[in-house]
């Protein structure tokens, strides 16, 4: 009887169940994320101390400007005008009024405090999700006051990482060849600067021609090529100490020494008996090993991040193309098959792509392709540009571009440029003089 009742109730009260509606959202807004970078607040005592030590009146604003500039340069964020902010920095850092920040269309908010504690600079910052009204990240750093610019870069890295999911590239340096004078009598010096162009230092005097400086991926060492009495010589330079040593003199034309991922070897190409091949040198015992042995010209070797493969360019198929082989020189495979000439392959630190320079119909392109040669994408095109170098997160390329200084094509200027993998965010990197052959360091704060 009970069963019958239940059946009757079920039949009488049956209702129509609706299936869950699913909607696919496959498009969105590609405009950069609106972010509010509030100036870092500080008390009067700290302000006086900063003024005394650093001769800076408002260090909080200066640090927030560094963060703002870094984020803007990525093309992924749109820092909002500070004039539009409705809340004072010190109050915002304690408890932001999210409605006020949402009103100016901010989706993320950065607040912070900077002070002097025991003669050290202490920075505290918070990253807020304005729409969810919650804190996303809170960190504090203590360092010597003169390090204030680096603190700005480290904050930028942490914010970038939290908002994009990948490591930042702001606390890094760029080494390049600074050039001055007419093209026929060019003075070339090694120069190093922060990635935003500040803290420029010259590392050589300009007496000798310097070429292709490359960072060691594991520390702040640099290898470069210099001509001493018209003979190519490979140097190692410790940037922290300024110590320099000669790795060796090599015969004939020597090109582009580059470190292996573990920093224990350098790989380069040089001409022996009129034939250019690829060689490695062990930095501990200085033993040179031949990697390729082919009558064609093999140059520009670059290791994969795991050290198992090497990309290089060769004209063994009549025209210059990119090849990949095992690090012992076996299993050589051509990976570029497009029209034009391909050169200067550089393996991404992420390991997924190879950047290259392409010359086709009188124009130079910087592009990327997968490590098997598929998915070739040309990111930028110009009259003359080459030597791409990856940011440590494998998202941005820096390269140099020569431009004619007037419409008649007279004179030229060489400058550093950066472009991200989307190909949309192309920017000139400010340098005091003309610049070429850039190389990007790994993160300093690793």
């Amino acid at each position: 009887m009970n069963l019958l009742r239940i059946l009757i109730i079920l039949f009488l009260f049956q209702f129509k169940a609706y299936a869950l509606i699913e909607v696919d959202i496959t498009r969105g807004n590609l405009s950069p994320l609106p972010i509010a970078v509030s100036p870092l607040s500080s008390d009067q005592n700290s302000l006086d101390n900063f003024n005394k030590i650093l001769n800076k009146k408002d260090i909080g604003s200066e640090i927030s400007n560094i963060v703002e500039n870094n984020l803007r340069q990525t093309g992924l964020f749109n820092p909002l005008e500070k004039d539009a902010f409705l809340q004072e920095p010190e109050i915002a850092h304690l408890k932001p009024r999210f409605e006020d920040w949402a009103l100016i269309k901010a989706q993320a908010l950065i607040t912070g405090k900077v002070e002097i504690v025991d003669e050290k600079l202490r920075v505290e910052f918070r990253l807020w999700d304005v729409l969810a009204a919650k804190e996303m990240l809170a960190l504090a750093f203590t360092t010597v006051p003169t390090n204030w610019r680096r603190v700005g870069h480290i904050l930028s890295d942490k914010i970038y990482e939290r908002l994009t999911g990948e490591k930042g590239y702001f606390d890094t340096r760029i080494i390049y060849v600074a050039e001055e004078g007419p093209k026929t009598k060019r003075i070339k010096k090694l120069a190093i600067m922060d990635q935003d162009g500040f803290n420029l230092k010259y590392l050589t005097l300009g007496n000798e021609l310097v070429l292709t400086p490359r960072f060691n991926p594991t520390n702040q060492m640099v290898t470069y090529l210099s001509y001493f009495r018209n003979l190519p010589r490979v140097y190692l330079l410790d940037i922290e100490t300024g110590e320099q040593e000669v790795v060796g003199d090599f015969p004939g034309m020597t090109f582009a020494p580059r470190f292996s991922p573990d920093g224990k070897k350098i790989i380069m190409s040089f001409a022996m008996d009129g034939n250019s091949d690829i060689y490695t040198m062990d930095l501990e015992n200085r033993v040179v090993e031949r990697i390729t042995n082919h009558p064609s010209i093999d140059t520009s070797p670059s290791y994969s991040p795991d050290g198992k493969h090497i990309a290089f360019n060769s004209d063994r198929s009549k025209y210059q193309q990119i090849y990949v082989m095992r690090s012992d020189g076996s299993n050589v495979k051509r990976i570029s098959f497009g029209n034009g000439l391909y050169g200067t392959p550089v393996w991404s630190p992420r390991g997924d792509l190879i950047a290259f320079t392409k010359l086709h119909k009188g124009k130079f392109y910087i592009g990327v392709m997968r490590t098997d040669g598929s998915g070739e994408r040309l990111l930028t095109e110009n009259f003359y540009q080459e030597a791409p170098s990856w940011s440590p997160n494998g998202r941005v390329l820096i390269f140099y571009r020569e431009t004619k200084t007037n419409e008649k094509g007279e004179g030229f200027s060489a400058k550093l440029w950066s472009i991200d993998l989307t190909g949309y965010n192309e920017r000139q990197v400010f340098t005091k003089t003309d610049a070429s052959d850039p190389s990007w360091s790994s993160l300093l704060s690793n």
């Binding site: 049956q14 299936a19 509606i21 909607v23 496959t26 969105g28 950069p32 994320l33 729409l131």
Partner: protein, 270 residues
């Protein structure tokens, strides 16, 4: 005696009530599937292409004539005519192809207009052909099974056709367009990773979100899933920014629970 009569009467009443309330729900209407969508689209195109000039009548007539001619000519291919014959029920392989074709059409609104007109005309003919009723019943069952098989695999757009309870195309488009504008896709994401964020929403009748739930929430806090977390957060921000969502004014029961699948691959690849 009276007791027995009463029991018998009550049981009879019960059966009548059951039949009245439940039997209509058990009947599955044969094919109300893709043609419904196509008709809606045709109407929209017709409306939007009406000229407003004084000579509108003439132009409309001309256009109609042309369309009629076109439909007749497009219905001509022998393959389609074969379908009308009861013994020409397509083989399973052919049916899969047919289902796939319909899927393709949905992806391209321009194609839908002409192609689906054909299909709907055929379906109508088949439905109203009294000689083919038996064949049609069998076929509809098979077709339904086929459609179910494919919908299990793929997206909501198929479910939408299979389930009359879903959002209409225009309702779905309105909602999508609103969210497209609110969603800032994190541009730093790698295009080659499998990043699909599914968010289940509970909505108020005015489109305000009562509750939002990330369906793969556990993945957010796993190591090495930083990109997923970033994408999920951006999707949640989009929903909050868009509130109240542009939902239909009627049929709250249909859409009070809604699932949004955020997939940025298409944008990041392009």
């Amino acid at each position: 005696m009276y007791k027995n009569v009463a029991i018998s009467t009550s049981f009879h009443l019960l059966i009548i009530i059951l039949a009245t309330f439940s039997l209509p729900f058990l009947i599955k209407k044969p094919i109300e599937l893709p043609p419904i969508v196509s008709i809606e689209l045709i109407q929209i195109t017709d409306k939007t292409s009406i000229p407003f000039a004084p000579k509108a009548k003439k132009i409309i007539e001309k256009v109609k004539k042309k369309e009629e001619e076109r439909i007749v000519s497009e219905q001509a291919p022998p393959k389609k005519i074969k379908k009308e014959k009861p013994d020409a029920v397509p083989l399973p392989d052919q049916k899969v192809e047919e289902v796939k074709k319909i899927e393709e059409k949905k992806q391209n609104p321009e194609k839908i207009e002409t192609e689906i007109k054909q299909v709907s005309e055929f379906e109508k003919k088949e439905l109203f052909d009294p000689n083919n009723i038996a064949a049609l019943i069998d076929k509809s069952k098979e077709n339904l099974a086929e459609t179910n098989k494919t919908t299990k695999k793929i997206t909501q757009s198929h479910d939408k056709n299979a389930e009359p309870s879903g959002l209409s195309l225009s309702e779905e488009d309105a909602l999508k367009a609103q969210i497209f504008g609110c969603w800032s896709i994190p541009l730093g994401l790698p295009y080659n990773e499998n990043l699909l964020v599914r968010i289940k929403l509970q909505l108020k009748p005015n489109g305000t979100v009562i509750k939002s739930e990330i369906l793969d929430h556990a993945r957010m806090n796993k190591p090495g899933q930083g990109f997923y977390k970033v994408l999920a957060e951006s999707a949640l921000r989009a929903i909050r920014l868009c509130q109240p969502l542009r939902v239909p004014t009627t049929g709250y029961e249909r859409w009070k629970d809604l699932q949004l699948n955020f997939d940025a691959r298409e944008m990041l690849e392009g």
